[in-house]
């Protein structure tokens, strides 16, 4: 028996947004039917309640506002003004793709050093031409954030990196939200066989209330090396629903670091499918959550083939009345022998009113594997605080130094020195420790 869905104001707002947006969204006829199938699920059932297992700790129904509208196109002069303020990785020189309110802007992008090995195309254009297939990896099928993404998809970038290319400057995909409203983006990055590339995704927004549903799909061919840095730096009233899907070939090194640093409600989810043997995937991250913010990191790691390693290591700092969520699932399928999969989630609670929900899940169907998970949740060590203060460092500064120290151990995992520098600079600045 299914419980009849109770429609909240947010559900009704979403249904009417879907209805009114129909004419304005891109895509040819075959995509339109995919879109309306996704949309009708929301029109019928609304947003997920906390009874839906994946959304148990993150109440999307409650987080979505009761007045929803599509974000408006932004005047390019205004967008230009916001562009430099949205540069949150000054330490690193990049090639830059810019999306404003979900729409790719070639004008604001900086592709001067892109070279021949990278091609870029707008998703809206590809959808119109019937040249973009939305085939999510099996492990992400049916995901609610991705379905919502399909229902309202506006634009994004398709980046293709040629086989064997070694891209020197990282490629930044910069998302900027201006003036409020809802935007829906889907990007795809196709990494050619044997290529080496760094991608940085950044998200910033102004103070207006907005909802960004963003998805990125990495298709990593054999022998490639992909390093991703993702910095979620949304505005104080921003809602961020972010999905990463990755299908990983053989002999690949895939490293991914997520920093969840701001935004009113953040759900950052990753679905990684290991499809080729002898590959490594490292999912790292850090979250800094304060005020009454909510930050959710959800991971699904799927080992479908033998001889792969995966690591997930996340650190979360929670202050004030913040809520943190870590849901990590590792699936090792029967055929995936000799898998080495480890997961660790560590939280630091700076306030008694903050809370942390940790849900690790191992589903192991193979017998010759090494798998494990661990979790810690603690407060600042008083003895460490005393030592620092006994040398003349104020309580406030000593606390910040220890928070930085806690996060430094997460950043230590990152292999690209430029990413390390960018992360350190960002966090020092955020903590007020930059000199």
């Amino acid at each position: 028996m299914t419980t009849p869905a109770i429609k909240t104001a947010a559900d009704k707002a979403l249904a009417s947004l879907i209805e009114s947006a129909k004419g304005a969204l891109p895509g040819n006829e075959s995509f339109a039917s995919l879109r309306s199938a996704a949309a009708s699920a929301f029109e019928e059932n609304g947003l997920p309640t906390r009874r839906v297992e994946e959304w148990k700790y993150s109440d999307l129904k409650k987080a979505m506002p009761a007045d929803l509208a599509l974000a408006q196109p932004v005047d390019s002069a205004l967008a230009k003004q916001q562009l430099s303020g949205a540069d949150i990785i000054k330490a690193v020189e990049t090639c830059r793709l810019v999306l404003v309110n979900g729409i790719y802007s070639a004008e604001l992008s900086d592709l001067a050093d892109l070279g021949d090995a990278i091609s870029v195309r707008s998703v809206a254009e590809a959808l119109q031409a019937g040249e973009f297939q939305l085939d999510d990896p099996a492990i992400a099928q049916g995901d609610i954030a991705l379905s919502l993404n399909t229902a309202l998809l506006q634009d994004g970038v398709i980046v293709e990196i040629a086989a064997g290319a070694e891209i020197d400057k990282p490629l930044e995909i910069r998302h900027i939200m201006i003036g409020g409203g809802m935007a829906t983006v889907r990007n795809r990055v196709v990494i050619g066989k044997g290529s080496k590339v760094g991608v940085i995704e950044t998200f910033t927004g102004d103070e207006a209330a907005y909802q960004l549903n963003t998805a990125i799909d990495y298709r990593v061919a054999d022998d490639a090396k992909l390093n991703v840095l993702r910095i979620i730096n949304e505005g104080d009233n921003g809602l961020h629903l972010g999905s990463t899907t990755a299908t990983v070939g053989g002999h690949v090194h895939f490293e991914h670091f997520t920093l969840s640093a701001s935004g009113k409600f953040v759900r950052s989810q990753s679905f990684v499918a290991m499809l080729g043997e002898y590959s490594d995937a490292d999912l790292f991250g850090a979250s800094l959550v304060n005020g009454s913010r909510h930050s959710d990191i959800t991971l699904k790691m799927d080992h479908a083939v033998p001889n792969c390693n995966s690591k997930e290591q996340y650190r979360t700092v929670l202050d004030d009345k913040a809520v943190g969520v870590f849901q990590g699932q590792i699936i090792v399928r029967q055929y995936a022998q000799k898998t080495d999969a480890k997961m660790m989630s560590q939280a630091l609670l700076l306030s008694e009113d903050a809370s942390f929900n940790n849900k690790p899940e191992l589903e192991i169907y193979a017998d010759d594997v090494v798998c494990g998970h661990g979790a810690t949740c603690g407060e600042l060590d008083e003895d460490l605080l005393f030592y620092l203060r006994a040398r003349g460092i104020s309580k406030d500064l000593a606390k910040k130094m220890l928070v930085m120290a806690f996060l430094a151990e997460a950043i230590e995992n990152v292999s690209d020195d430029r990413f390390v520098e960018a992360l350190e600079a960002y966090i020092l600045d955020r903590l007020g420790l930059a000199d």
Binding site: L388, A390, I393, A405
Partner: protein, 250 residues
């Protein structure tokens, strides 16, 4: 410099300090000896401001100021320094960053303004060379993986850098090899001045051959039970604490 009057302190209801009286004048070096568990480290922690202790009676004046009303970091900025018996490891905080932050925090608190990075580097290099603290140890996270002796040398480096008015050394000599003991003692002696006082807690008379005390105290069960000159240390070395504990030394 320091006046401790009838100080009583307890932890979770256990009385540990039971009426300490101690006056240290500028330029004086005092040593405290005493059996394990007599309250020596507790006294040093109470002076530094560690929050685990409840002060039930008494007062502490440091250059006329009421220490018990000062924050831990205010005490440090006022010139009180404790070289700890067990220096703690702090992963993720580079030793060098820590030293610079501490020095500048104290300078700013005293209204002196921050030291410029090149000046700071010069000073640290000079002092660390004297104390045999390597560049590598300065780059590493604070005390992490340092040997016992390296941790103690790092404490003295901090002391030399911060130039406190009162240096409290809690068993700085334990765990030091013969050469390190000499290096550390030389480091401490280099800081001797008519304006700077020292309180040296130790179990071994040998340290006091290097750092010669003006006054030696014996602490037992949370009280100072005897005070004398440096010959008292020699006497204790010979006879042990039987006179105070009532037990006959083996």
């Amino acid at each position: 410099m320091l006046e401790i009057k009838n100080l009583h302190a307890e932890v979770e209801g256990n009385k540990i300090l039971r009426g300490i009286n101690l006056t240290i004048n500028p330029g004086e070096i005092h040593a405290i000896m005493g059996p394990n568990g007599s309250g020596k480290s507790t006294l040093s922690y109470v002076l530094a401001g560690k929050e685990d202790y409840e002060i039930t009676e008494g007062e502490i004046l440091f250059n006329g100021e009421n220490v018990l009303e000062m924050e831990i970091d205010e005490r440090a900025a006022a010139g009180l320094f404790l070289a700890m018996q067990y220096p703690i490891e702090i992963p993720g905080v580079a030793n060098m960053t820590f030293l610079k932050t501490a020095l500048n925090a104290q300078r700013v608190a005293r209204g002196e303004g921050e030291l410029k990075t090149p000046d700071f580097m010069k000073k640290v290099k000079e002092l660390s060379a004297k104390l045999n603290v390597t560049q590598e140890m300065l780059r590493r996270p604070l005390n992490v993986g340092f040997s016992g002796g390296e941790k103690k040398r790092n404490e003295i480096l901090q002391m030399a850098l911060l130039e406190p008015k009162l240096c409290i050394l809690d068993e700085t000599d334990s765990g030091l090899d013969i050469d390190a003991l000499r290096i550390v003692s030389e480091g401490v002696n280099a800081l001797k001045s008519p304006e700077r006082s020292m309180l040296v807690i130790t179990h071994y008379q040998r340290l006091l051959n290097y750092i010669v005390p003006d006054v030696v105290h014996v602490m037992y069960k949370g009280q100072i039970v005897k005070t004398g000159d440096k010959s008292l240390a020699l006497e204790l070395e010979e006879k042990g604490y039987a006179e105070f504990t009532g037990e006959v030394a083996a």
